[in-house]
Amino acid sequence: MAAAIQTEQLSKTYSVGFPVRKKVLALQGLDLKVEEGEIYGLLGPNGAGKSTTIKLTLNLIRPTSGSVKVFGLDPSEPKARAQIGFLPENPAPYEYLTGVEFVTLAAQLVGVPSGELKSRVSEVVEKVGMGTAAALQIRRYSKGMIQRISLAQALVGRPKLLILDEPTSGLDVLGRQLIRDVIVEERKKGTAVLFCSHIIPDVEALCDRVALVIGGKNIRTGTVSSLIESDSNQVELVIDGAVAALDEKLRPHVKQLDRLSERVVVRCEESATNTVLKVLLEANARVVKLQRTKFTLEELFIKAVKESGQAVGSSMS
C-alpha cells in the first residue's frame, strides 16, 4: 500500500532578489514517509523548509529535483489532491462570502455530490463549533473563527490525508482543544495527518512520529519517545543523605550537580556511571534512583538547531 506522503531526495531552490538573482536552497534532498493513519509532526525553526515541503505536496510549487508522491500519485494529478484536506498557516478565506458559502465552495471543488452538499457542509460546520456564526460574512470573524471555518473546508471532502500548517497558533485554550480533538478523531477514522507546528507540547501530545527538519534536511525521524531516548547519553542519579564533602569528590566526574535539601541530583556521562557509583559507594551514600536522563522534545529541538549552526527562530531565506 502506498504511503500517504513519500518524498525522495526532494529539493527546492528559489531565485530571489532583483536585479541580481540570488539562489536560496529551501529544501536539500529531503526524505520523508508519512504512513496511512498516522499523525506525523514536522518540527523545525523558521525557514527550515516545512512550509516548502507542504507546498510541494500540494503542487503549489514544483520541485527543483527529487520527487514527492501522495498515495503513490504525483500531486499535480487532481486525483492525488482530491484525497487531501489542507489548512494553511494564517488562512485567509474569501472575506465577502459567509462561512457556509465558503465551505460549500470547497465542497464543490473537491467534488462532493450536489445531493450531499448541504448535509456535508452542516456536518463539518457543526464539528468545528461554528453553528449559526457560519451564516455571517467571513470579514466579521475573529481569528479563531477563521481558523475553525478553514478547518471545516479542509474536512468537508472527507480527506484521507489532512495537512495542517500551524493549526493551533493564535487560538485560545478552547480553540486549541477543539483542533486537537478533531485531529485525534480523524486519526481514529484512519486519516493520515501531517502536522506542522511551533507549539512543541502539541506535537509531543499528538504525533505518532516526528521529523526534525533543519536547513532543508530531515535531521532526525522517529517516535517522540525514541527521539528523546536515543538522544540521551547521560545518566541521572538521585542520592539520599550525601554529605557536602562528597561534592568535591564527585565534581570531576559529573556534568551537573544539584543539592536539593536532603537529596543530591547528579548528571554524568553514561561512560562515567561506574566511577560515580564507586565514589558514592565508598562514601556510603545511598543511591535511590538511577535512570537515563530524559530530555523534553523542546530541549531536543533546541539542541538539534544549535548543532546545525542555525540560530533558533532564524530564517534561512
Binding site: 503542487n59 503549489l60 489542507f86 485567509a92 465577502y96 465552495l105 464543490q108 471543488l109
Partner: protein
C-alpha cells in the same frame, strides 16, 4: 468532479463576492451622475437633448465599466496570491486553468451585471424624457460589452504573472493604445523607415483594436451600424479574448506560489 462544475462554482462565488464588495456602490454612483447629468443637459441644451443624453450616458457607462473591469481583473489573482487565499483553492482537485477561467467568468458576470444595470438606468431615463431608443444605442452598448470582455481577458493575462500594480498599469496602457490602433496603422503605413513601418504594423496586429468595438460616436449621431460589421467585431473580440485566456492559463500553470 468535472472541470465545468468547478469553474461554475468559482464563477458564481466570485460574482457573489464582488456584488457584496463594491459594485453596488458604483451603480448607485452612476445613477446619481446620470440623473444629475440629465437635469443639467435639459437646462443647457436646446433641441439636441437626445444627442447629449446618448453621448453622456454612453461615455459614463464606458468609463465606469472600463475602470471597474481593469480594477477587478488586475487585482483579483495578485490579491489572492498575496493574501494566500489561493492556497486553499488551487490545492483542491481543480485544474489551474479552471481556476483562471472560473474567476474570469465571475469577473465578467460582475462587469456585465453593472453594465446591464447602467444600461437599464440610461434607457429608463431616456424613456422618461421621451427620447427615442435607437438601434445604434443598443449596438454601442454591445460594443462596450465586447470591450469589457477583451479588457478582462487582457488584465487576467497580465495578472496571472505579475503584481496588481504592474497589471493595472499595463492594462490601462493597452486600453489607450487599443483606441489609437487605427492611427498606429496609418502611421506605420506612412512611415519612411521600413523598420518603423514594420514595427507599427506588428503593434497594430498585436494590440487589441478597441476602435473596432467603439460604436459610441455613431450612437450619438444615430448612425446605423451594419450587422455584418458588428458580427466581425464580435468575432474579433472573442478571438482576441481566447488568445488572452490561453496566455493567462499558460502563465498561471507555470507559476510557483511561494
Amino acid at each position: 468532479m468535472s472541470a465545468f462544475n468547478g469553474m461554475l462554482a468559482l464563477a458564481v462565488n466570485g460574482f457573489r463576492e464582488s456584488r457584496r464588495n463594491r459594485v453596488t456602490v458604483v451603480v448607485y454612483l452612476f445613477a446619481a451622475i446620470l440623473i444629475f447629468a440629465a437635469t443639467f443637459a435639459l437646462e443647457m441644451t436646446v433641441g439636441t437633448f437626445e444627442r447629449v443624453m446618448t453621448d453622456l450616458g454612453l461615455g459614463v457607462i464606458s468609463i465606469i465599466t472600463v475602470v471597474l473591469t481593469i480594477f477587478l481583473g488586475s487585482g483579483l489573482i495578485p490579491r489572492e496570491i498575496e493574501r494566500r487565499t489561493i492556497f486553499m483553492i488551487v490545492s483542491k482537485p481543480v485544474a489551474r486553468s479552471s481556476f483562471v477561467v472560473g474567476r474570469l467568468l465571475g469577473n465578467l458576470l460582475t462587469s456585465f451585471f453593472v453594465l446591464v444595470i447602467m444600461a437599464v438606468l440610461l434607457i429608463g431615463q431616456m424613456v422618461v424624457e421621451g427620447t427615442p431608443i435607437r438601434e445604434s444605442l443598443v449596438v454601442a452598448l454591445i460594443g462596450i460589452a465586447l470591450e469589457v470582455l477583451v479588457l478582462s481577458c487582457v488584465s487576467f493575462a497580465f495578472a496571472a504573472g505579475s503584481s496588481q500594480f504592474v497589471s493595472a498599469v499595463c492594462c490601462s496602457g493597452l486600453y489607450f493604445l487599443g483606441h489609437l490602433s487605427t492611427d498606429l496603422y496609418k502611421f506605420a503605413d506612412r512611415a519612411k523607415s521600413p523598420v518603423l513601418g514594420f514595427l507599427g504594423k506588428v503593434a497594430y496586429y498585436v494590440l487589441p483594436n478597441l476602435d473596432r468595438l467603439d460604436f459610441k460616436g455613431r450612437a450619438t449621431y444615430a448612425d446605423p451600424t451594419p450587422w455584418s460589421e458588428l458580427g466581425g467585431s464580435v468575432v474579433y473580440a472573442i478571438g482576441y479574448s481566447v488568445v488572452m485566456i490561453v496566455i493567462a492559463t499558460a502563465v498561471f500553470e507555470r507559476r510557483d506560489f511561494k
